[in-house]
């Protein structure tokens, strides 16, 4: 028997006794076995461990029965540390890295009764928008195997879309949860910066990174956020704010909601199918009683430039830790020339990093190193941080008038694997709608908003005020109630 498509159905099946945790786990593992040969959504499947955990839950059913995620199979992006389970971040440099600790989100999920079935493929160190930058090969889009699932959390998105698990966690730095959710026809939520602890997330850009859920429904995203959100002593940037019950906000009522539409941003560069689906989605919300108003985000057009200066600068610093000393791959010793010297050590670092990192990671480390170097810091990094302030102020001003800002998640439907990989700049430009939310620290969700004539999924993005996930989710849920795109299944997986 397969695993139910949603958290709610899986959890209810466990609660009522209709299905055991073991049964749910077997369902998930069976679907992975059936579909993952074609998709490569998983980097590691933790079948034995998952079954052992499920059996433990079944043995103590009374204790677990009312846990929020009791018996629910979950997949984790492979940049989240799992104690005793290999964690690669899609990189050869961490090919054999086995973390000695769990990320806080993993601890919280397991405490809520979730069963981890595996680790999902991603762009190396979450750098990419297609999952083609994984050192272990690309993931394929369940809707069209020749297309990219988006990235960097492409494995997580493909796993949920292909009904391998009702929920997966991803991480989002410039769109890495929302864009793959859009490409795979599912829901992806990037919470407010600080809402979810980053402890145990392999860092890419620390001022932008945030962990969030990928699910089929908005309700399931809210349920998962309930579990993973909240302060954590191990992450000083996690916010002390109370965690509300996000599912309680989903009342379907958008009559008091005002939705801002940055029309000027949408004038050019948006695919015709995407533009049509976006307009239709706004009509659905308007018909439910939401008010639509035009908003100006004058600095949004600079967001991609700012993002690729700030994120690469932070990455070049964060990834300095991979030097072949404490963990991961080390290049074989070079022949010593003229006896011991610091040259031998530096050469070991440089060859380890050259052999362990893939092209996109090297490119970003190089760019980040350059923009932080003496003489260019002010012109690029400092300047980008100042423009970041202006982007943030644009949103603050918009949120005086509106509750959320709506855009398409991606300007195009899923592109073909191999189509953009040779031109990094073109790949970066496609992040136009997703990079602003992390720069401003705002929560944003992508919810499915239909299919192209060629049956490729598209997503609607709603961005909200800091720590106002409730409103973002409420409006997305109301839209989902009238459309239900998530109920359509990709063929043949």
């Amino acid at each position: 028997m397969s695993v139910p498509a949603t958290i709610r159905d899986a959890r209810d099946a466990f609660r009522t006794g209709a299905r055991s945790a073991t049964d749910l786990c077997r369902g998930s593992l069976a679907q992975i076995a059936a579909a993952d040969g074609a998709l490569h959504a998983f980097q590691t499947v933790t079948a034995d461990r998952a079954l052992a955990r499920a059996a433990e839950i079944d043995r103590d059913r009374e204790r677990w029965r009312d846990a929020p995620l009791a018996g629910v199979p979950i997949a984790l992006k492979d940049n989240l540390c799992t104690r005793g389970v290999r964690t690669t971040a899609g990189s050869k440099i961490l090919e054999s890295f086995v973390p000695p600790y769990d990320a806080t989100v993993v601890t919280r999920l397991e405490r809520a009764g979730a069963v981890v079935v595996g680790k999902t493929n991603c762009d190396e160190f979450a750098m990419g928008s297609s999952t083609e930058n994984s050192a272990f090969g690309p993931t394929r889009n369940p809707w069209a195997l020749d297309r990219a699932p988006g990235g960097s959390s492409g494995g997580s998105a493909a796993a949920v879309a292909a009904r391998m698990a009702p929920v997966a966690l991803g991480s989002d730095t410039g769109g890495s949860i929302r864009q793959p959710a859009s490409f795979c026809g599912i829901v992806g939520l990037k919470p407010t910066y600080g809402r979810v602890s980053r402890y145990g997330l392999l860092a890419f850009a620390s001022s932008l990174d945030q962990i969030g859920p990928l699910t089929l429904t908005v309700g399931d995203a809210a349920l998962t956020l309930n579990v993973i959100a909240g302060a954590d002593a191990a992450d000083a940037t996690s916010a002390p704010d109370e965690v509300p019950d996000y599912t309680a906000a989903l009342d379907g009522d958008v009559r008091s909601a005002t939705i801002g539409v940055p029309s000027r941003m949408l004038e050019s560069g948006v695919d015709a199918d995407v533009a049509r689906a976006f307009r239709a989605a706004l009509d659905v919300l308007a018909a439910r009683g939401a008010t639509l108003v035009d908003v100006e985000l004058p600095h949004a057009k600079h967001a991609i430039a700012v993002y690729y200066l700030v994120a690469t600068a932070e990455a070049s610093s964060n990834l300095a830790r991979y030097d072949g000393v404490r963990y991961g791959f080390r290049a074989p010793e070079a022949k010593a020339e003229g006896g011991p010297s610091t040259d031998a050590l530096r050469s070991m670092y440089a060859r380890t990093r050259a052999g362990g990192f893939g092209p996109e990671v090297k490119r970003r480390i190089m760019l980040g190193t350059y923009v932080l170097s003496a003489g260019y810091y002010d012109a690029y990094y400092l300047k980008a941080q100042q423009v970041r302030t202006l982007i943030l102020r644009d949103y603050d001003r918009a949120f005086e008038r509106v509750d959320v800002v709506a855009t398409p998640t991606s300007p195009t439907p899923p592109f073909r694997i191999g189509e953009r990989i040779a031109d990094p700049l073109q790949m970066y430009l496609a992040d136009v709608f997703t990079v602003s939310a992390p720069l401003a620290g705002l929560p944003a969700v992508s919810v499915p908003c239909g299919f192209t004539s060629g049956r490729l999924p598209m997503g609607l993005q709603l961005t909200g005020r800091r720590f106002d996930e409730a409103t973002v989710l409420r409006i997305a849920d109301a839209y989902e109630r009238d459309t239900g795109w998530w109920k359509q299944e990709p063929r043949g997986v």
Partner: protein, 104 residues
């Protein structure tokens, strides 16, 4: 200060200088590829220069709400064996990471 041209494409020597700062041993073909690609990206990013940022403070992070200070207490942490477990070369008994010899 490194003598780089501003964004108008990079020479191979300039890319080599950045690679040295980043501790990356690049191949000749990578040097050529990155010279072109970094030039493209920086030429695009040049647009931030047009923005008037006079008097605008930089945003380095968006963590607006911090947890309160905590008492400075000794807490459990990774034991030494666990910390060394992933090292490609460790002197486990002595409790050290080992690196190529730097002194004679």
């Amino acid at each position: 200060m490194l003598a780089f041209a501003m964004a108008a494409g990079f020479t191979r020597a300039q890319v080599e200088a950045i690679a040295a700062l980043a501790n990356l041993a690049l191949t000749p073909s990578e040097l050529d590829l990155f010279a072109r690609q970094l030039g493209d990206v920086l030429a695009y990013a040049e647009e931030v220069q047009e923005v008037d940022t006079a008097g605008v403070p930089p945003t380095a992070h968006v963590a607006t709400r911090h947890g309160s200070d905590r008492p400075d207490r000794v807490m459990p942490c990774l034991d030494r064996d666990a910390a060394l477990a992933n090292a490609p070369d460790a002197a486990r008994d002595a409790g050290f990471f080992r690196v190529p010899r730097v002194l004679g």
